[in-house]
Assembly symmetry: C2
Homo-oligomer: 306 residues x 2
């Protein structure tokens, strides 16, 4: 099927065409470029919510509960489960998709996992492209679920309007998140599995950790028991409150400009990376000390006209 | 002090000059380039050992015990504690340096921590440069200590001849490491705090995890109680065994060529990144849908002559 036909079918709500285009994004296929161009007029500016947290925090259960709440008020929701953990492993999130099965037959819900294989510029380039495609396909809310708390998650958070960080009671997750800089980018903090002991203490500790941050938005701390649905309404309310604040404060426009900048930058970077292969002969001269690394970098850049 | 004088003092074993040059590397100061060039003839090909593991695995204690063992046989050792965790936090390793104080007055030992601030190309560019400087200053063994198990640690491992992964008894650390691809790059596995229960089980589990890997080198699993020194001799023996294997197998030359390539690539990349700033006007056109991201990336590349 050619690009124009694919774009047309995505536009018409064909789920298989949509899945095909996301795969093209994931694999870094060059053909996806004209599909994205054809879809451009349909991009409506969907709301993007990032959910991150260590393995076991209950991300899939919370995501599923959020999807249910969004569907109840008539919104179409897409879930993109992104696994940045490693080029070696991959597929870690697939098992969790079982928890999403209650939405499997609902045409207003689309669920996909995505790894980093192939894509030039990695997930930093692939995620915004996948968001564009889902947006053009008519999903008003896009949930980006990432496993783990690290720099990769911070990068993916940069693609979201609102980032929710999930932790379980006990301070391990929060401390790890703080070390990785994830706490600084979280807009809403969720203590899930809040029927466990230590919940109130974790809430207090999180509040004191974020009290030190200087941003204009003070992240609320929400407690949930996602398996029973407890606290999910309050979580939705806080996510909505942040979304409204983004518009009122002018932050939404600023963020979207920054996202566009990051997206262009990642694509340009990916293209350059492909051209900056270090020739064996050049690496050998550096390895045996005949040439300094800076001089070699200069020679390499000159050889591609930079 | 000019570059030539700094290089001369580093060569002469001046610790303050050495610390100054490492700071220049860390901050990405352009002046460091001629210092590194002046030091090039002194680079002797030091042995680089990477140590990584989750917080609490006992990296500093193991590092300190290794330094002691290396000093006992007359080798000069430098420790570079690299913190890739976040551009936001930083300094996480400073507290641990207290454990290194037994070596504080030994001129055959140099200890420094380094973060990612400033450096173009990040730690992937800064670490090899710091290694060059320490090598030229006459340290035959350079220990690179990194906190955490993630992609950043995998990148730093790429700068080492031998990478040791530290875990504590219980499978949490090992599973995290496996997910992040760190297990695949570890040459020696160390179960530290081996006076705890579950040690033998962890050793068995690690052995079965690595049995699946297809490399020519089968990573040994060593147990240590670094606080008492137990197992440290065996750890040194296994590190030596890997170092000898690298030479015999031809792997050392191959790795060093790969390292030179990575170093040149990171520097070239850093230089390009600085030139690929996305102008506001271009980002705005992408943000409001007037221009596709791929077309914008093309425009940006064309504007810098690519």
């Amino acid at each position: 099927m050619d690009a124009a036909a694919l774009a047309e079918r995505v536009r018409a709500g064909d789920v298989r065409a949509l899945a095909k285009v996301i795969s093209m994004v994931e694999n870094g296929e060059s053909g996806v470029r004209s599909v994205i161009k054809d879809l451009a007029p349909m991009v409506a500016g969907a709301r993007v919510i990032g959910l991150t947290g260590a393995p076991g925090a209950g991300k899939s259960t919370v995501t599923s509960a959020l999807v249910k709440a969004l569907r109840a008020r008539g919104e179409r929701a897409a879930v993109l489960a992104v696994d940045p953990s490693s080029p070696f492993s991959g597929g870690a999130l697939l098992g969790d998709r079982v928890r999403m099965q209650e939405h499997a037959t609902d045409p207003g819900v689309f669920i996909r996992s995505m790894g980093s294989r192939g894509q030039l510029g990695g997930l930093a380039a692939a995620t915004p492209q996948a968001i564009r495609v889902l947006d053009a396909a008519g999903f008003g809310v896009i949930l980006i679920e990432t496993v783990g708390v690290g720099q990769a998650e911070v990068e993916i958070a940069a693609a979201a309007d609102t980032t929710a960080l999930l932790v379980v009671p006990g301070m391990g997750d929060a401390v790890q998140a703080a070390k990785a800089g994830v706490l600084e980018v979280a807009d809403v903090l969720v203590v899930n599995k809040a029927d466990r002991p230590e919940t109130q203490r974790t809430v207090r500790d999180l509040r004191s950790m974020i009290a030190l941050s200087a941003g204009r938005w003070r992240p609320p701390v929400v407690t949930t028991v996602a398996t029973s649905g407890e606290g999910v309404d309050e979580l939705v309310r806080q996510l909505d409150r942040h979304w409204a604040w983004l518009a009122e404060s002018g932050e939404r426009a600023r963020q979207r400009l920054a996202r566009a900048r990051d997206e262009v930058s990642a694509l340009a970077f990916g293209a350059v990376r492909a051209r900056l292969e270090v020739p064996d002969e050049l690496a050998a001269r550096v390895a045996d000390g005949r040439l300094g690394p800076h001089e070699a970098a200069e020679e390499l850049l000159a050889s591609v006209g930079l």
